[in-house]
Subunit: 197 residues, 2 copies
């Protein structure tokens, strides 16, 4: 549709998640009008993320050193490990300020349809963190979907076999939502998990 | 929220039009998982667009040479010039295959609130293209909003003063739309512009 370089940029931008051809075009024309300095900042940010960011050797969280900022933090409670599917989940939990323990990133969930079994996840690394007996609870915080539930069940059994107490995040109504619009599975789980007041 | 390089990239991506903090985060994590080669293609496309793309010396369209592909094309009808606000508008018109003449990009519309008057637009360049008398019609295709209408009125008067016939794109119901949901201004214009069948 457009000439050479512009179309190349639109094509590259269209490959990004959530960016369709229209948004790609809009972004490309925005960048065309932008200062060369703005473009340089963007390209160096892109390059930096690839060269600087690695995974924490202990928990698999994103890190710019051998260990991530959470594993390095002496004030964190080292007796609890929260298991999540991906590094982004850690940020979501950190925002709640409800948890002060450590994390472990699995790198996905068990999904036989896509050929992902326990061996493809960072489960061995989790087990080795539990051997010295200092961890007294593992909170399983996988996604509340089929793959996440399967992974949670697998982990719960495994943790039982090594005698480490496991817990699972509560399922129920989202705060601020309307009971009327809750789907029946969520509402069913909210009933199952009801608590005395 | 995140550590250094990742957060830098998220911040830079958030500056792009139509990309909010959530999408920026999603794109950043996507790029983190992407091959180094994919990132290189994106950064070189970004750099290329800034170094290669300029504006056509005649019409102001985007070009990778002195003249854009349309001004270079011998098969275009050189007796008609279509005036648009920005280069993107040319692509929208080209997609219709309804027009085979040349273009002229104003680089915006008259907007006193933002300090844009006729002198800030490429109007002098348009006038100089009309002096040799070869152009027999100017189609005014500015946006159908207040600034576009003001610009169209200004251009129509100016073209009258140099005795070049001007026309304006029709206003009316969008094809495929519902009459029931048309706004009253559009419907009013559709009545004004009604044609015998």
């Amino acid at each position: 549709m457009f000439d050479g370089a512009i179309q190349d940029l639109i094509d590259e931008l269209s490959l990004l998640p959530g960016v369709g051809p229209k948004s790609a075009q809009r972004i490309a024309f925005h960048l065309l009008e932008a200062d060369a300095e703005d473009i340089n900042r963007l390209t160096s940010a892109l390059n930096a993320v690839k060269t600087k960011v690695t995974h924490c050797e202990i928990c698999g969280n994103l890190a710019e050193a051998q260990l991530c900022s959470i594993c390095q933090d002496e004030r964190r409670d080292r007796t609890v490990i929260c298991v999540v599917e991906q590094a982004q989940d850690i940020q979501a939990i950190e925002r709640t300020h409800a948890y002060r323990g450590l994390y472990h990133v699995l790198g996905g969930a068990i999904d036989p349809m896509r050929g992902i079994g326990p061996d493809q996840l960072r489960i061995r690394g989790l087990l080795s963190r539990l051997t010295d007996g200092s961890v007294t609870e593992v909170v399983i915080a996988t996604d509340p979907n089929i793959e996440g539930e399967a992974t949670a069940t697998y982990l719960a059994r495994m943790l039982e076999s090594v005698s480490v107490p496991a817990s699972r995040l509560a399922l129920g109504l989202p705060v601020g939502g309307d009971l009327e619009y809750a789907d029946e599975v969520t509402l069913g789980r909210a009933f199952e998990g009801r608590r005395r007041v």
